[in-house]
């Protein structure tokens, strides 16, 4: 997994609540057996018309935001299906950080597994960052995971919370399966106890 330490980039504003994973990557793109190549179809139905032509008004089609690395969105981002194709598409497009007042649980987990940092902030702070992002290409933000701080285009600083284990995994690009396999003795001990107490399981 790609590490995440500090990121400075353009932030794209997507002022919508309840952006669901069907919007992020529609089902026709879930037939892939790979993790890569989904960026082209990120937000497909909002981004392209029925003939596959770009809709010029959609934020990621506007010249200022085509290279966005941060997405600022409304509450309950990533609700709906568990498809990890959603963070894969976001990552493949080049976005490494999403800032919103709230995320759906499964999507939030999936981000961390793919080197994407989801940042939960109070609505007022998201509103301020959203307003700054509306200004376009000059409005870069810096996301500093180590210091858990976002620095806006006008020098404002906003701190955020992140689970310490997930922070470490992101910063060091850790493979959590490898970490868990080191606990094999504990897993075996559990299995023995479990088989005794709940033999039908």
């Amino acid at each position: 997994m790609q590490t995440f330490t500090t990121l400075t980039g353009i932030a794209a504003p997507l002022p919508m609540i309840n952006v669901d994973t069907d919007m992020i990557i529609p089902k026709q793109f879930l037939k892939t057996i790979k993790r890569t190549g989904l960026g082209r179809n990120l937000f497909d139905e909002m981004r392209y018309d029925a003939n596959g032509v770009e809709k010029p008004d959609f934020v990621l089609n506007r010249p200022a935001y085509r290279g966005a690395q941060v997405l600022i969105a409304g509450a309950n981002f990533g609700c709906g299906s568990s498809r990890e194709h959603a963070p894969w598409a976001i990552l493949d497009f080049g976005i490494r950080c999403i800032i919103a007042p709230g995320f759906a649980d499964i999507f939030y987990n999936n981000c961390f597994k793919n080197g994407i940092l989801p940042v939960k902030l109070p609505q007022e702070q998201v509103d301020r960052l959203m307003a700054a992002a509306e200004r376009g290409a000059g409005a870069t933000v810096t996301v500093d995971l180590e210091h858990q701080e976002i620095r806006g285009p006008d020098g404002e600083r906003v701190s955020f919370d992140v689970d310490p284990f997930r922070k470490r995994c992101l910063m060091e690009g850790l493979d959590d399966i490898g970490l868990t396999l080191r606990k094999d003795a504990a897993i075996r001990a559990f299995e023995q106890r479990h088989a005794h107490e709940h033999p039908w399981l």
Partner: protein, 468 residues
């Protein structure tokens, strides 16, 4: 005396393998369901790292999202769908995972297959790379959806890294009126909580209305839990649960059954246990529900009207409502009853079980699908289809003008050939009315099987209680 615990606390604590200093928990997973859409990259990850499936016997695979619901003897026409299903075939063979093939009568939607086979058991931890895994909580299991990276983690280690959830209890008191079903209860709860109201929680459903539900009804309620943002819904097991499970292929038998049942009887929330949040609904006040927008929280009783965004004080919500009404082609103030529909879909992991088909057939019997309406019944599994046919339900649907299909996810998410055309309006027993969910530009109204059947007959959304 130890501190009173909730049902969730009990199952969580009995599955803790390890707790790190930072509070991250490693929990053991008893059952892992696998389907073709969210597993190829997980198996590929195992292969790349030279890892095995740790417990193939705890894993059960079935293809459901991509399978055709028409004649299967010719295979899958769509090349990408065919490759994805073939990849699951190959992976299961390579890693020694039991797999129910497309031509197996037990094949069906993964969340219908698990309970049918007795793979789903009370007190178990159950995961699947699918958000509707919450369904299995109906048996008093802790069941939740996971992403593909976590699927790989479970395949490799039979565990998951998790943080404990908060506890919420939703109590539904009283009794339901005639014509009101488990789906209406689920939609009414989502209407009350909102689509993010359950984020971070596990919901336990309780109260006389929940107790009176069949296992099928309980599965419908738990299935829709994810639409309120909670990853898992649970119902304490009771006689209804045990009666459903007894004798199924993978349930314990003989003395093991007695032992298991004695343990399962203790799987309930202790008196005095504290929930972080409590919600109470009166079952008698719940009417048949229908969604009007593009989020399951956009729901109202069939007797009401399309709401007016201008009256919504919150700007974010107002914009979302305006966008939803534009997408749905509906004007504020329009009565919900009377909205003309083009398509009807009865099926899915929410409402594709035998009881759902019986309820729909009871409405349909002796009637005809309205002219111009295309109506589809997709049984949730081969066994549901077989059961329905033995009861003559297929004949009722076919005589009325419905199509009677092979089992699968079908038009719930339209990954196979079953989908809405742009602008088409559908009364659907599925779980999501998101933009494009049933096909680009398609307009979905979520309803119960009874209400979907009534809509097919009337050619418009209608209160099933008033269908004469």
């Amino acid at each position: 005396m130890s501190k009173p615990r909730t049902l969730f606390d009990k199952i969580w604590q009995s599955h803790l393998v390890d707790v790190q200093d930072d509070g991250t928990c490693l929990i053991y997973i008893d059952r892992h369901l696998v389907h073709e859409v969210t597993s190829p990259q997980a198996f590929e990850g195992l292969r790349a790292a030279g890892r095995k499936v740790r417990c193939p016997e705890r894993t059960l695979a079935v293809a459901d999202h991509n399978v055709p619901t028409t004649d299967r003897s010719l295979g899958i026409a769509d090349e990408e769908s065919r490759i994805q299903v073939q990849t699951l075939d190959d992976n299961c063979a390579e890693f020694g995972v039991e797999y129910l093939r497309m031509d197996d009568v037990r094949q069906g939607v993964v969340h219908i297959v698990g309970p049918e086979q007795g793979f789903t058991l009370p007190g178990a931890t159950i995961v699947c790379g699918d958000s509707h895994t919450s369904t299995h909580g109906a048996f008093g299991a802790l069941a939740f959806g996971i992403g593909t990276s976590e699927v790989e983690h479970v395949l490799a280690t039979q565990t998951l890294l998790q943080s404990p959830a908060r506890n919420m209890r939703v109590t539904v008191n009283g009794t339901l009126s005639a014509g009101v079903s488990a789906k209406d209860v689920a939609l009414a709860i989502i209407g009350r909580l909102g689509t993010a109201g359950g984020t971070g929680y596990v919901i336990e459903y309780a109260g006389p209305v929940i107790r009176a539900l069949s296992m099928e009804g309980r599965m419908t309620v738990c299935n829709m839990t994810i639409e309120a943002g909670a990853r898992a819904g649970m119902i304490a097991p009771d006689g209804t649960t045990f009666a459903y499970l007894r004798g199924r292929p993978r349930t314990p038998k003989g003395a093991a059954w007695e032992l298991a049942q004695a343990n399962w009887r203790m799987l309930s929330t202790d008196e005095g246990a504290v929930f972080d949040r409590e919600i109470v609904l009166d079952g008698a006040e719940i009417e048949p529900q229908v969604t009007w927008g593009t989020s399951p929280e956009d729901v109202a009783p069939i007797g009401s009207h399309v709401p007016d965004p201008a009256k919504e004080p919150d700007e974010g919500k107002r914009r979302a409502m305006e966008r939803a009404l534009d997408y749905m082609g509906l004007a504020p103030g329009t009565p919900l009853a009377g909205i003309a529909i083009d398509r009807v879909f009865i099926g899915s992991c929410t409402n594709g079980r035998i009881e759902d088909l019986r309820a729909a057939a009871a409405v349909v019997q002796g009637r005809k699908v309205a002219e111009g309406v295309n109506a589809l019944v997709v049984p949730g599994s081969g066994l549901v289809k077989e059961q329905a046919e033995s009861e003559g339900l297929d004949a009722i649907f076919l005589e009325a003008g419905f199509e009677w299909r092979e089992p699968g996810c079908s038009m719930c998410l339209a990954m196979n050939a079953d989908r809405l055309e742009p602008g088409e309006r559908c009364a659907s027993t599925s779980n999501r009315n998101f933009e494009g969910r049933q096909g680009r530009g398609g307009r979905t109204h979520l309803v119960s099987p009874e209400m979907a059947a009534a809509a097919a007959i009337a050619g418009r959304l209608v209160d099933v209680r008033k269908l004469v």
